[in-house]
C-alpha cells in the first residue's frame, strides 16, 4: 500500500509552534504532516482523504495498553475496523529514545507479529512531533478521522479507566460505537471523552 500521511492544518502549525497542551478540536481538517512507519515508509495524511483513519497511541510497556492487547481487545478492534473496509489503522509510538515503549522499526514489527495485531502501519514518532500535534496524552489515546479528513472522535478507547484486564468485557467501547455511527451515516454521538492510561513518554 502506497500511503502518504498528513495531519491537520492546525496540527502542522502546532507541530512547529505551540506546546502540546493545546488540544485540537473535533471538526478540524487534516493537512500535511509527513511521518515514517516501522518499515521506513513515509506517509502523508492528506492522501488518506476518502479513507477513514483510526489513530491509536501505544506503548507496549504500559499496563493499560497491555490490558487491551493481553485480552485481544485491541487486536479484535483493529481487525473489525480494517478487514473488508478502506479504513486505515495507524498505531503511533511517541516514546522518546530511552523511554518506555521506544522501539526500533524491527522491534515494532516483532511486536505486531507476536501480538497478532493488525494495524495498517505502525508510525514511529520518537521526536513526539505527531503526538504533540494531536495533543496525545495517554496510551492508549484514540482518534478517528473521517473520509473528509476531519477529526470526528478523540479520547479513550472505552469507558473503564482501570488497568485491570477483568474490566474489558463490561466496558462500553467508544471507538467501536463511533465507527458504527459513521457506518450508519450519522454524526458520532460520543465524540470527545477523557483519555486514560499511562502518560505518553515524550522526551522531557
Amino acid at each position: 500500500m502506497k500511503t502518504l500521511f498528513t495531519a491537520t492544518a492546525a496540527v502542522a502549525l502546532l507541530a512547529t509552534a505551540a506546546p502540546a497542551s493545546a488540544k485540537i478540536a473535533n471538526g478540524t481538517t487534516v493537512s500535511d504532516m509527513i511521518v515514517t512507519d516501522s518499515n521506513g515508509k513515509q506517509h502523508k495524511l492528506s492522501d488518506f482523504k476518502g479513507n477513514r483513519v483510526v489513530l491509536e497511541w501505544t506503548n507496549d510497556g504500559c499496563p493499560y495498553v497491555q490490558k487491551h492487547y493481553d485480552t485481544n481487545n485491541m487486536q479484535n478492534l483493529q481487525k473489525e475496523a480494517t478487514l473488508g473496509s478502506d479504513t486505515v489503522w495507524l498505531s503511533v509510538i511517541s516514546s522518546a529514545p530511552g523511554k518506555q515503549g521506544y522501539v526500533s522499526g524491527e522491534g515494532a514489527n516483532a511486536l505486531t507479529t507476536s501480538r497478532d495485531a493488525a494495524p495498517s502501519a505502525v508510525v514511529l514518532d520518537p521526536s513526539g512531533d505527531m503526538g504533540q500535534a494531536f495533543a496525545a496524552k495517554t496510551t492508549p489515546h484514540m482518534y478517528i478521522i473521517d473520509e473528509a479528513g476531519t477529526l470526528v472522535y478523540q479520547g479513550a478507547i472505552d469507558d473503564n479507566s482501570s488497568a485491570r484486564k477483568s474490566t474489558v468485557p463490561g466496558a462500553k467501547n467508544y471507538v467501536r460505537a463511533a465507527l458504527a455511527d459513521l457506518d450508519a451515516g450519522q454524526p458520532v454521538a460520543i465524540a470527545d471523552t477523557a483519555p486514560y492510561g499511562c502518560s505518553v513518554k515524550y522526551s522531557s
Binding site: G61, K137, A163, S199, Y202
Partner: protein, 697 residues
C-alpha cells in the same frame, strides 16, 4: 467520657498524656501504636492504620491506608489529570459498620513532559471514617479488610494492589498514640466544603474561574482541581490574578463545555495563604462570574502614604537617570547664571520649574487615567509606545541640540538675541525646562518608583493623581532645595565664558538621545517610519536656516516648513518591526512557555523590557549581555525569555499587573526548586550576584 468522635478529638488530646501513661501501664502491647502488618507492593509500602486501638459502640473511628512511596514515584488523586488512575479502596466491613468517603489529601500538579497529573508523593494517608453500630458489644472484635489498588508512576507506570486487614476491639475507646494524631492531621488538612464561592465562565475559548469569600490574608497563588475530567485542560497553566475581593484563574475549557456542562461543577481550590498551602472543596457555578474587584497589587500591598513617599523618593532618584541628564545639566546651568544674582529670582525660577514638572506629571496622570478608563492596558512610559510621540521627541531633541550649538535662539523676537531656550532667565523658560525634563524622563524608571506607580494605577483617579504629583515633587526637589538652603547656591560654579562652551558640549548628549529615539523608532515602525523622521529633521534644520537668514516672507515660509516638519512624525504608526536585536540565546515570552519550561524542570528567567526603556538597556549592557551571565545561564540550563513591551501588548501588561507593576523593567526568576506559580521578582537595578544567587539555587 465514653466514646470518641472526630469532633471530640480536640478535647481528648488534653488527656493524651494521661492516656499514654495508662497505656504504658495497662496495655503495654498497644501503647505505642498498633503494630500493623505492612505490605510491600513494589514501589510502595502499604499499611492499614487506625486512629483508635479500641472503639465504642455507636461511635466513629478513622481507618487509613498509609502508603510510603519510593522516591520519585507518585500515585493519583480522585481526578488523576491527563493520565493515570486514582487510588481505589474496596472494603469488606464487619456487619453494621458503615464506611464514609476517602478524606483525600491535597493534590499537587505533577508535570511530566507536556502532561500534567494530579497526585501525591511521599507518604500520603487515605483516611476513611467508619461508624460502628450501636449494636456492637464490648469485647467484640471488628475485622476490617481492605482491597486496595493504585497506579504508581515515575517515568513508567505500574499498577499495584494488595489486601490488608485490621482488627479493632469494641469497648472503652483508646486513641492510638502514633496514628491517632497523624490521621487527625491528615483529616484536618483534607479539603472540605467551606465559605469559598466559585464561578466559571467561557469567553473567547478561555475559561475564566473566579472565587470569592476567601479567608483574610495574603494569597500568593492558587490552583483549581476539578473532581471530574472534561472541565478544564489539565496541562494548561492556570494563570492567577488577585482582585480586591477575590481571585481569578484562567485556563482552557475541555470537552464538557461543548457537550453542555452541568450548572455546577465541584473541585478543590488550593491556595497559598500567608505562605501556607490549603485547600477547600468548592462548588463552582458554570456560565457565571463573580466580582473579584479591581486588580490589586500582588504581594505586599501598600498604603497611599507609603506609595506617595516611594514616589517622592523615586522622583528624586529619577534626576540621576541617564535620560534626564542633559536637561538637568541645562537647568543647573541656568541656575548657576541666576544663582549669583538675586536669591528671590532663583526661588521664582525653581518654583516655575517645579510648576512645569507638576503640570506635566498631572497631565500624564490624567492621560493614564483616561486610557485606563477606556480599558487600555498601559503603564509607565506608555506614551513612548506611540511612534508619534517618539518621533516628535526625537525631533525636539534634535532642535534643542541645534539651539545649544548656537545655530539659532528661541524666542529671539520677544526677548532679543543672546538667550538660549533653557538658559533663558524668564519664568516661562524654567517652566518649559520642567515640562521637557519630565517628558524626556518618562522612559526611565527609578528604584522605589515602580511599586508606587503600579499601586497608583490600580487605585481611583484621585490617588493616582496624588502619587504622580508626589513623583513630580520629588523630581523637582533638588532645585527647590537649591533655592531654599542657604549656601548651596553659592557653591555652584561662577558664571563665565566657560558656560558657552559647556552649553555647546551639552548639545551632544541631546543628539545622542535623539539617536536613541530614532533607534526606538526603527524597532517600532521599521525603515519607512525612520526615513520619515529623518526627513522631518531635515525640514526642521532647513526651516531654522531660512528663518535666520530671511525677510518677513522667508520667515513665514520657514514657519510653514517647520509646521510641516512637526506634522510629519504624526503620520507615524506601528509597522513591521522585525528588526530585533539578538540578545543571548533567548525566546519570546508567553505564560504557556514559562509553564512548559518549568514542567521540564528548567529554571526560567524572564526579562520584561522595551526598546524605549533606558533602565532595561543599562541592565542589558551591564549584566544580562555579559559573558559571565551567559555562562551562568548555560551552566544552570536557564531558559531566557524576553517579553518585549516596545509596542502595546495586553498580555504583557496583564502579567506586569499581576506583579503589581505598571512598567518595565521587571525581572522574574523561576529557579528549578521554586514551586510557587508566581516567580521571584529581582531588583530593577540588576546585578550579577543577584542572578547567581537566585539561579544557582
Amino acid at each position: 467520657m465514653h466514646a470518641i468522635s472526630f469532633s471530640s478529638w480536640m478535647r481528648l488530646s488534653l488527656f493524651r498524656l494521661v492516656l499514654s501513661f495508662l497505656l504504658v501501664v495497662s496495655f503495654a502491647a498497644t501503647a505505642f501504636g498498633r503494630q500493623t502488618e505492612t505490605l510491600d507492593t513494589g514501589k510502595v509500602t502499604a499499611s492499614l492504620v487506625s486512629s483508635l486501638d479500641r472503639v465504642a459502640p455507636g461511635e466513629t473511628v478513622w481507618i487509613a491506608l498509609r502508603t510510603e512511596l519510593d522516591e520519585g514515584w507518585h500515585t493519583y488523586w480522585r481526578n488523576p489529570g491527563d493520565s493515570g488512575e486514582p487510588v481505589q479502596l474496596t472494603w469488606a466491613l464487619p456487619a453494621g459498620v458503615e464506611a464514609g468517603p476517602i478524606a483525600w489529601p491535597l493534590p499537587y500538579p505533577t508535570p511530566t513532559g507536556p502532561i500534567v497529573n494530579y497526585g501525591f508523593e511521599g507518604a500520603p494517608l487515605f483516611p476513611v471514617e467508619m461508624t460502628v453500630p450501636n449494636s456492637a458489644q464490648d469485647g467484640d472484635r471488628l475485622s476490617f479488610v481492605l482491597d486496595f489498588y493504585y497506579l504508581v508512576c515515575a517515568d513508567i507506570c505500574i499498577p499495584e494492589e494488595g489486601q490488608l486487614s485490621l482488627d479493632l476491639e469494641v469497648g472503652e475507646p483508646i486513641e492510638d498514640v502514633i496514628w491517632g494524631p497523624q490521621i487527625q492531621a491528615a483529616v484536618l488538612s483534607s479539603p472540605r466544603p467551606g465559605s469559598v464561592r466559585g464561578a466559571a465562565e467561557l469567553a473567547n475559548e478561555t475559561l475564566s474561574l473566579t472565587f470569592t469569600n476567601l479567608p483574610d490574608g495574603t494569597i500568593s497563588g492558587a490552583y483549581f482541581f476539578p473532581f471530574d475530567q472534561g472541565v478544564l485542560g489539565h496541562s494548561t497553566p492556570q494563570s492567577f490574578r488577585l482582585g480586591k475581593t477575590g481571585i481569578g484563574l484562567m485556563s482552557a475549557p475541555e470537552f464538557l463545555w461543548a457537550n453542555g456542562i452541568a450548572e455546577t461543577v465541584q473541585g478543590v481550590l488550593t491556595y497559598t495563604l500567608d505562605g501556607e498551602t490549603r485547600g477547600e472543596v468548592v462548588t463552582v457555578a458554570t456560565n457565571a462570574a463573580l466580582d473579584i474587584g479591581a486588580p490589586s497589587i500582588s504581594g505586599p500591598s501598600m498604603g497611599l502614604w507609603a506609595a506617595a513617599f516611594g514616589a517622592l523618593l523615586g522622583g528624586l532618584i529619577l534626576n540621576l537617570m541617564p535620560c534626564v541628564f542633559p536637561i538637568i545639566s541645562l537647568k543647573a546651568l541656568s541656575l548657576a547664571k541666576t544663582a549669583h544674582g538675586e536669591r528671590a529670582a532663583a526661588r521664582r525660577g525653581a518654583w516655575a520649574y517645579t510648576g512645569g514638572v507638576l503640570v506635566t506629571f498631572a497631565l500624564l496622570a490624567a492621560g493614564l487615567i483616561a486610557f485606563k478608563a477606556a480599558g487600555a492596558q498601559i503603564g509607565w512610559g506608555f506614551q513612548l509606545q506611540s511612534p508619534k510621540v517618539v518621533g516628535i521627541l526625537a525631533l525636539l531633541l534634535f532642535v534643542i541640540g541645534l539651539n545649544l550649538l548656537g545655530l539659532f535662539e528661541f524666542g529671539s523676537r520677544l526677548q532679543g538675541a543672546g538667550q538660549g531656550l533653557t538658559a533663558r532667565g524668564g519664568l516661562s523658560g524654567s517652566f518649559f525646562t520642567g515640562v521637557l525634563a519630565v517628558v524626556v524622563a518618562t522612559p526611565c524608571t527609578a528604584p522605589f518608583m515602580a511599586g508606587a506607580v503600579g499601586y497608583a494605577l490600580a487605585q481611583p483617579a484621585l490617588t493616582t493623581l496624588i502619587v504622580f504629583l508626589a513623583l513630580g515633587l520629588g523630581f523637582a526637589l533638588p532645585f527647590l532645595l537649591l533655592g531654599y538652603i542657604p549656601g548651596l547656591l553659592a557653591k555652584l560654579p561662577k558664571p563665565g565664558p566657560w558656560m558657552e562652551t559647556f552649553r555647546q558640549v551639552l548639545a551632544f548628549p541631546m543628539f545622542a538621545a535623539a539617536i536613541w529615539l530614532v533607534w526606538v523608532l526603527i524597532l517600532q515602525t521599521g525603515a519607512n517610519g525612520t526615513g520619515l523622521l529623518l526627513i522631518a529633521m531635515l525640514l526642521a534644520g532647513f526651516a531654522i536656516w531660512v528663518f535666520r537668514r530671511g525677510s518677513g516672507f522667508a520667515k513665514g515660509l520657514a514657519l510653514i516648513v517647520a509646521l510641516g516638519a512637526a506634522a510629519l512624525p504624526l503620520t507615524l504608526s506601528t509597522g513591521a518591526a522585525d528588526v530585533k536585536a539578538a540578545v543571548l540565546d533567548s525566546e519570546v515570552w508567553s505564560p504557556e512557555r514559562v509553564a512548559e519550561l518549568r514542567a521540564q524542570g528548567r529554571p526560567v528567567f524572564v526579562d520584561f523590557t522595551a526598546a524605549w526603556c533606558v533602565t532595561c538597556k543599562v541592565n542589558e549592557q551591564l549584566v544580562l549581555k555579559t559573558d559571565r551571565t551567559q555562562a551562568l545561564f548555560e551552566r544552570t540550563n536557564t531558559a531566557f525569555l524576553i517579553a518585549d513591551w516596545t509596542n502595546r501588548d495586553a498580555k504583557i501588561a496583564a502579567e506586569l499587573e499581576r506583579y503589581g507593576r505598571a512598567g518595565v523593567p521587571l525581572y522574574l526568576a523561576f529557579p528549578a526548586s521554586h514551586d510557587d506559580v508566581m516567580g521571584l521578582v529581582l531588583p530593577q537595578t540588576l546585578s550579577f550576584s543577584v542572578l547567581e544567587e537566585t539561579l544557582g539555587q
